[in-house]
Amino acid sequence: MTTQIGPGESGPPRPPVPPALTEPPPPRVNYLNVAYGVKSWLLTTDHKRIALLYLAGVTLMFFLGGSFAVLIRLELVTPAGDLVQSETYNKLFTMHGIIMVFFFLIPSIPAVLGNFLIPLMIGARDLAFPRLNLASWYIYMIGAAFTIYTLVSGGVDTGWTFYTPYSTTYSNTHVIAAGLGIFITGFSSILTGLNFIVTIHRMRAPGLTWFRLPLFVWAHYATSLIFVLGTPVIAITLLTVVLERALHLGIYDPRLGGDPVLFQHLFWFYSHPAVYIMILPAMGVISEVVACFSRKRIFGYEVVAMSSLAIAVIGFFVWGHHMFISGQSTYAGLVFSLLSFLVAIPSAIKVFNWTATLYKGSVSYDTPMLYAIGFVGLFTIGGLTGIFLAALGLDVHVTDTYFVVAHFHYIMVGGAIMGYLGGIHFWWPKITGRLYPEMWARVAAVIVFAGFNLTFFPQFILGYLGMPRRYHAYPEEFQVLNVMSSAGASILGLGYLLPMIYLLWSMRYGPRASANPWPAKGLEWQTASPPITENFERQPVVTEEAYAYASEEEARVVERG
């Protein structure tokens, strides 16, 4: 009953995909125009519509969190704390941290691109539990509502890390509301992770074995393991902080014999794997983009797939490197430092394999590829500075300084956000059926890359000079580097506004996209753009490996190689 469509068609090799990018297919019913009205969006169980709901929520939170970053950088232009008071500054960096980490970086790629693409990539009609998927969006929005309530009613000033005993005893800001907000949003991650695991295990198209899965799906499977195994621990940790504040359940209270270091163990047990939740999906996007724009299979596909799992698993054993000087025992620091070096290896392997994929490929510089190349560069710097921080002796000097701030921004902003933007541009034709303006997109990519480096590279130098984190005022001699960083931040801010403008513009005025504009491999490019609600007219059957851009005999050897 299932017919074969797609690349495996027998008979003479089809002529390459017709070059005309933009011959507009006649307007048909697709998941966007199948129903209109608020109810059709707010009660949808279609994974594609839920992905767009998440896109709206996540973008709102990104610009909210980003505005705090701008205020922080403005404050730090001058050594004296003269733009805002110190209480306000503390609330600014706390809300920046909370919103960016829990409400943008963690949900962005999995909930937007993952939700949209995983069923398409594995040839399924939807995720395993569509209603749970909609519930996860509502839970995310309720959590966001709690956080916005915290914001408007006075903010919270404990830092996104909520260290006790400050968060439980000494802070008099809205810690309970903020804690509950993150507690609730955690369940949105859990439901998304649960949905992905069951879908990838149980709903792959016939013939789609594990080692034919796109690396995007591998990355999200590894991320879902972290969602499911890590998020509950942050939920109970924040619950204990809320209970200690509200009901005096003093398990972290040093006056009763409680140990604040125990809170840090519980917090970082989740929060370190959380950084892999942020980067693994971006790595999945980069694997897809690099393969498509060098028109070649990823070099060492199996190794790259396994390195995603390795990162997810080893990522759970390394949390102690956040606590080398926090009162954790020296020997425990030794163990965590060794394991932290091991977790760096799979990331290095991925970078080498992406670079090797370009060799003898047919590389084109569309915007997604610019973001991918930017990602490889910045993620390499981010990863290498992680080695500085894992080295015990060095960490003593650089932890809690701007060196750490620069390191994790290189990974989160240089890595995760570049990957997110690359993914949004790469699948924009599939999601909206429209093409974005290529020239503007490339300009924006270059601005983002330049602005990012000008913002965060000086912070490495500041960090080694000893400027501590979360400082409202700083000594005179750090001012020049801080002004450079603030200048970079304004360029970066502009760089992020551009995509917002031309992507919205393209939804109305962009030329219509064909089913496979790049052209790229993968089941999601086998169906229409934008896809129908059921994703595929007929159940696709997969008969070849992933990224099969050219079989051996089809390849015209690239002479100059």
């Binding site: 539990f129 198209a205 998020t231 621990v233 939920a235 014999g257 409680g258």
Partner: protein, 232 residues
């Protein structure tokens, strides 16, 4: 190891069963996915309770004497009775799932209602225990008094940590039961209306898994909280 659901030969009748959702090929595939999903959810519950079990493990080793004295004050008989009640409710729940799989409607309703009853008994006993703690001022906070535990000074404060963990762990467990009991009540009502059949009784089975998990949590809570140093 790709265990893709075999779709080619799902029986035709099965394909149009009212309970089969559109994106699954067959009822067994749908049930298999639901079972895996439920188990992944239970793994998150293991890690959720795990945070408290970790705190308990660390503080028990750090402040063993204060924990022994505080645990001694918990009512052992009520704890043991509660354990027995919960194991019985696990049995009745298993029988409920069993009879729904065989399509015996009235038996299913009976077993499920029995499970609800046992669950309520457990919560009742828990309420009695909590009230006793409030009466003896053993609730963490300013009014905490540890004279009855024969502890003073730092150890009196460490007893507060024991009771903080006691209330947190048994409170979280009780909350899970307060969520579970109404769900089983609804299931009993749906079974009564003949909603389930041998082909489709997944909700009963999933709730059964949840209920057995809650029982397993108590199986660990009882010895850890009630049985430290009951000898000498």
């Amino acid at each position: 190891m790709s265990s893709v659901a075999d779709t080619a030969h799902a029986p035709e009748a099965d394909r149009h069963h009212p309970d089969l959702v559109h994106h699954f090929e067959s009822l067994p595939a749908q049930k298999e996915a639901a079972t895996l999903g439920m188990w992944v959810f239970l793994v998150t519950e293991v890690m959720f309770f795990g945070g408290l079990f970790l705190a308990y493990t660390m503080y028990r080793n750090l402040y063993f004497h204060a924990f022994v004295q505080s645990s001694r004050h918990l009512n052992l008989t009520l704890g043991a009775v509660n354990t027995a009640v919960l194991i019985c409710s696990s049995l009745t729940m298993a029988m409920g799932v069993h009879s729904s799989a065989l399509g015996r409607r009235r038996a299913t309703v009976a077993w499920l209602l029995l499970t609800v009853a046992l669950g309520s008994v457990f919560l009742g006993i828990k309420a009695v225990e909590y009230k006793d703690k409030f009466d003896h001022h053993l609730v963490p906070g300013e009014r905490f008094q540890a004279e009855e535990l024969h502890l003073e000074g730092d150890e009196a404060r460490q007893a507060q940590i024991f009771y903080a963990l006691y209330f947190a762990m048994t409170g979280l467990h009780a909350t899970h039961m307060v969520i579970g009991v109404p769900i089983i009540l609804i299931l009993a009502w749906m079974a009564h209306r003949g909603r389930f059949s041998p082909e489709y009784h997944t909700p009963v089975e999933m709730t059964g898994l949840y209920w057995h998990f809650v029982d397993i949590i108590w199986i660990f809570l009882f010895p850890l909280l009630y049985l430290i140093g009951r000898h000498h």
